[in-house]
């Protein structure tokens, strides 16, 4: 809306993109739509199975550990830290996009490095959490946790948890790889030569999508 488009612009008469965005960015949006439906299918099947079960483990009983705190009961603390890291790296990503719009190559480099660090921190947190759960004998096909009412739980809980957070973690990983490639291209001066930083925007869309998915994973696995 803020793009100063002349009134009465005929979008569909040819010669210009009817969506007023570059082709690659539009296709990134459509890719993200398809990815959203993949994640949606995962999370909804999780919801279906959970609704079809009489009992389910209490997330506050399962996710209560924090690094170096031993067996202190700290529900929600670690996952809040992970959420904060991911939101923060999303902010640095938008700042990189904003710097790209201003044509400031140095600032783009700075914010891209911060975003990559945030992504790596998130992956580190997830690696710790997985290791911790694995040490508690939770894995695909193995569920040491009891249902909230004390009865024996099926392995659905761990299967869904590891599959969905694993799929999300893989997205974070590929996002970090994409961001590193963008950083290298920026350092080489590719975008400065091209005169625009649209590639940073496309990588940014992907990165925000990863953050968006985490919002839903956080709610579905740790809060509900």
């Amino acid at each position: 809306m803020a793009q100063a488009i002349p009134a009465g612009q005929k979008w569909w008469s040819g010669g210009k993109s009817p969506f007023n965005v570059e082709y690659g960015k539009l296709m990134m949006w459509y890719f993200l739509m398809s990815d959203a439906f993949t994640f949606g299918a995962f999370l909804i099947s999780y919801g279906t199975i959970r609704f079809s079960s009489n009992g389910w483990p209490d997330p506050n009983e399962v996710f209560k550990a924090f690094p170096l705190m031993g067996s202190t009961n700290l529900p929600l603390v670690f996952v809040s830290l992970m959420t904060f890291i991911l939101i923060m790296s999303s902010v640095t990503m938008v700042l990189a996009v904003a710097a790209g719009h201003a044509g400031d190559q140095k600032k783009v480099t700075f914010y891209m490095i911060l975003t990559i660090i945030g992504g790596l921190m998130f992956l580190g947190c997830q690696a710790w959490e997985w290791t911790h759960l694995h040490n508690e004998h939770a894995w695909w096909g193995k569920n040491p946790f009891r249902n909230a009412n004390g009865s024996v739980a099926s392995t659905n809980f761990t299967n869904f948890f590891f599959t969905i957070t694993g799929f999300h973690g893989f997205h974070v990983f590929s996002g970090v790889v994409i961001n590193i490639i963008m950083l290298i291209k920026n350092l080489r001066g590719d975008f400065a030569r091209r005169g625009h930083y649209l590639m940073i925007e496309k990588a940014g869309l992907y990165w925000h999508f990863v953050d968006l998915v985490w919002v839903f994973v956080f709610t579905c696995f740790y809060l509900l």
């Binding site: 803020a2 793009q3 488009i5 979008w11 210009k16 993109s17 969506f19 965005v21 570059e22 539009l26 949006w29 739509m33 949606g40 909804i44 099947s45 919801g47 279906t48 959970r50 609704f51 079809s52 079960s53 009489n54 009992g55 506050n60 929600l76 904060f84 939101i87 923060m88 999303s90 902010v91 990503m93 938008v94 700042l95 996009v97 904003a98 719009h101 201003a102 044509g103 508690e136 894995w139 096909g141 193995k142 569920n143 040491p144 009891r146 249902n147 009412n149 009865s151 024996v152 099926s154 392995t155 625009h196 925000h208 999508f209 953050d211 919002v215 839903f216 709610t219 809060l223 509900l224």
Partner: protein, 149 residues
């Protein structure tokens, strides 16, 4: 590239629209919503006060609010033209059907199973002492031949 205005003229407009103030405002909104969720969860843990079903509804509304802010501001969709917004938002409405249909299907399966499979219902209410070692006390379904470890 030729169909989009990336020339110096468009550049100036783009520069104006990328104010960093809304970015930080969005950040504080997202952080605030997450804090509210955590505070509600902690109050529920300590006192059990907000009923779990009410709380789940609140979580879902807050989650959708967060999703809206990420898509609208961080992904910048709110500032695109209407054609683009509609091509994303209208297919996303499928999720409304998707969630309601499948979740209610799961619920109906649980009710039917409880009605016709009394053994299963009995088992799901039987309290078992928590596993100490964890290794040898698993649900029967977990004992798959050839599973790792």
């Amino acid at each position: 590239m030729s169909n989009v205005d990336t020339s110096a003229h468009g550049h100036d407009n783009a520069h104006a629209q990328f104010d960093t103030k809304p970015i930080w405002r969005t950040f504080w909104i997202l952080l605030g919503i997450t804090m509210v969720e955590l505070i509600l969860a902690t109050i529920h843990l300590k006192t059990g006060f907000p009923n779990k079903y009410v709380l789940n509804g609140v979580y879902l509304i807050l989650t959708c609010a967060k999703a809206f802010y990420i898509i609208a501001e961080f992904m910048h969709l709110r500032h695109e033209i209407k054609n683009l917004i509609m091509t994303i938002a209208v297919p996303a409405l499928l999720f409304v059907w998707f969630v309601i249909a499948f979740v209610s299907d799961g619920n109906s399966y649980r009710e039917l199973r409880n009605r016709y499979d009394k053994y299963q219902l009995e088992q799901s209410n039987k309290v078992v002492p928590p596993a100490e070692g964890g290794e040898h006390e698993e649900a029967p379904a977990a004992k798959k031949p050839g599973s790792p470890e």
